[in-house]
Subunit: 424 residues, 2 copies
């Protein structure tokens, strides 16, 4: 019997989990295609942006993570379109035919049609974006220190975060903490702890996916770190000088975007059925209607949970469970077993605020504060892939916790050349 060829597009949580399960099956060979050479532990990416961790602490080469499965081939390339009728994907290096396809390309930040805001308000989805945010935040303090003009200083020391979900809350809390503790001693002309951190949320409260009591706790924690929370505020414009909220204007050198995501464009480009955010609409077994051998998982997948009647959130646990489920369905097919409907087991959610506070919600069990933060810590360490990353992150955190310092306070430039490009 010849092996079935499974093509997995994307090495995030969903793709990696599916590949690991399929790597144990003798009946299949797998090709995992990703634009990047690394898998990224996105839940901790905000700590790279906030100079607490190095990129390599939360990322690892996909090729290495899967090297023990001899039937898995990892390819660094970009998939540009999918042809479900011909059962092929077109990539930057040529075409791949498949017997089964898993699309798990994830999501990028969406600006609700205002994509030209991106240069002024980076989102946080990739390592490149995280180091760009780190550069901007640290640079602002440097520029404020250099200037004698109070207006310039105020502008440089104003940080606006748009979006009151977990990422926005984590970023706001980290900037608040960094300015108050880490940087306070290091500057001579400015008081780093006087930095203004403003968190803007369009809805009536931050962290709307949590119970209202936990939202309130999170607000209190943020306010203790000096973060101002503006709810029911809608951003109408972002430019180099700051943020416009209808009539009101905030002058800010650093604006970060944590408000919206949209799925990778591959679904719409390939004429697959998509929802408004570009996610591919799937059946109850996560396959695309009419193409039982094409699956979608993770942030790219539009799946309405029949238990809650809501789209599943773009979170790691959802992607992990979906990836594993797809691997199981393929195994079922090969074993002549029927498909099953996907069912998400919700194990709860959590968010962290600053250096020692978090909120945790597990079903109707809710708690907040230091103990919640310990739980957050243990869970994140546990799910972080690889012994080395786990060890290094634990040590980085212990060091930062004890010293109030941050281990990766580097402003790294984009340009590497010493000589201008026009030298000839």
């Amino acid at each position: 019997m010849s092996q079935k060829h499974v093509v997995v597009v994307g090495g995030g949580f969903a793709g990696l989990q599916a590949a690991r399960r399929l790597g144990k099956q003798k009946e299949v060979r797998v090709t995992l295609i990703d634009r990047r050479n690394h898998h990224l532990f996105q839940p901790l990416l905000y700590q790279v942006a906030m100079a607490g961790l190095s990129p390599a602490d939360i990322a690892g080469p996909i090729r290495n993570m899967l090297s023990k499965y001899r039937s898995i081939r990892v390819v660094c390339g970009e998939v540009t379109s999918v042809d479900c009728d011909r059962q092929t994907v077109t990539t930057s290096y040529g075409e791949e035919s498949y017997d089964y396809l898993l699309l798990a390309c994830g999501a990028i930040h969406g600006y609700f049609g205002n994509e030209n805001w991106e240069p002024y308000a980076p989102g946080l989805k990739t390592i490149e974006q995280a180091t760009e945010i780190r550069r901007r935040v640290l640079n602002s303090f440097e520029l404020a220190e250099l200037s004698d003009d109070p207006d310039v200083r105020k502008r440089e020391l104003t940080f606006v975060i748009v979006g009151g979900g977990p990422t926005g809350v984590e970023l706001a809390g980290a900037i608040g903490e960094m300015s108050r503790f880490t940087l306070a001693q290091d500057f001579r002309n400015i008081d780093a702890s006087s930095a203004r951190v403003i968190l803007i949320e369009a809805g009536p409260r931050i962290l709307p996916m949590f119970d209202a009591s936990l939202s309130t706790k999170a607000m209190r924690f943020l306010e203790q770190l000096g973060v101002q929370i503006w709810t029911s505020c809608r951003v109408t414009k972002i430019d180099q000088a700051g943020v416009q909220l209808g009539e009101e204007r905030i002058g800010a050198a650093t604006v970060l975007w944590a408000a919206g995501v949209k799925a990778s464009g591959l679904g719409s480009k390939s004429n697959l059925p998509c929802d408004r955010a570009g996610r591919i609409i799937v059946q109850e077994d996560l396959s695309v209607e009419g193409y039982p051998n094409v699956f979608v998982a993770g942030d790219q997948c539009a799946f309405v949970d029949p238990k809650t009647n809501r789209q599943l959130p773009g979170q790691a646990p959802v992607a992990v469970q979906e990836g594993r489920f797809v691997a199981k369905m393929i195994a079922n097919d090969l074993a002549g077993q029927p498909r099953e409907p996907f069912s998400f087991r919700d194990k709860g959610q959590m968010a962290t605020i600053g250096r020692s506070r978090a909120i945790v919600e597990i079903g109707s069990f809710r708690f907040a504060g230091f103990f919640a933060w310990i739980v957050w810590l243990v869970v994140h360490i546990f799910f972080l892939t690889g012994f080395r990353n786990r060890l290094f992150v634990v040590l980085s955190w212990a060091w930062s916790f004890l010293t109030f310092r941050r281990g990766a306070r580097l402003i790294v430039q984009k340009e590497w050349q010493s000589y201008p490009a026009d030298v000839d």
Copy 2:
């Protein structure tokens, strides 16, 4: 009595050491100006380029390293010229007047008039360059894996290092080791251990600053890692496709430059007396002739050691001793003591080759191999600044040594934006 103002330009080994000594003096206040926010432990930079360490492991914020000295102000800015008669430096943020000036701007790579080679053959002086080299080396393996064309594969798997000094030897050894041990298991189509690594040296032997017996040992170690050593070869051209050596041509996707350095251009731009490499010529007390309050230290300083009649090498120990000496001369002046001549105490030199070999030369005492590597390790850990960096580097090395893996195998792109720049 008003405090004297000492301006230190550059936060490398020389500038940082001088500032630390001067920070203890009540009679002076110090302004340290650097273009970057971080001090870099350059002797380990090749390990960042070779995916063994993260940038933050070998760099730290200058501001934080000096924060305990309340009389030191750290400024992130660029000095564009010096006026010794008016006693001012012009910077990107305005003018600074000084009573004493220390120039310690270091060196960049020099291409002997062929600066247009840089895009094809990056040097290794900054973190940006190190991550660029890492990107190129790791990418070459990915592209070779993707291609079925044996010519493309051969070109992608050929790595040329130009320059047989310590940096060139360290880079060549690390690529040899990485391809043979770290990457060998991770690829399916290519044999990573078949990579060709060619080290090109214009002189008759590599590591000419060491005794000939150690050069020979280093050659043998490199050859055991599969590195080919081409001595007495002069590069006549470098372009996108490879390297030209007179009649001969090597097709290579990755070419690294470790052949020549030249001092920062600040000396010549400021009409100070310079040697051919742009280093500023100094008196025996490291001050510039006619300007006893202007000192130069580190790679920017042209100082011929009266003991050997040779220019002191561009190495960390020289910069450290020069920086400390300048601080002492300023203290002498303020205490009404005479100046002294600078005398370099040579404590020996060492270079490492691959994962467990080094050569060490301390006076006439020479040794090579595993024990030399242990010495190299201990010395580098000892001089690495800061408890956190030390701990993390030790752990990274222990992990890599035991597992043959590398902790920072990330290909990070230059662009951070998700949307093309022309979106409007």
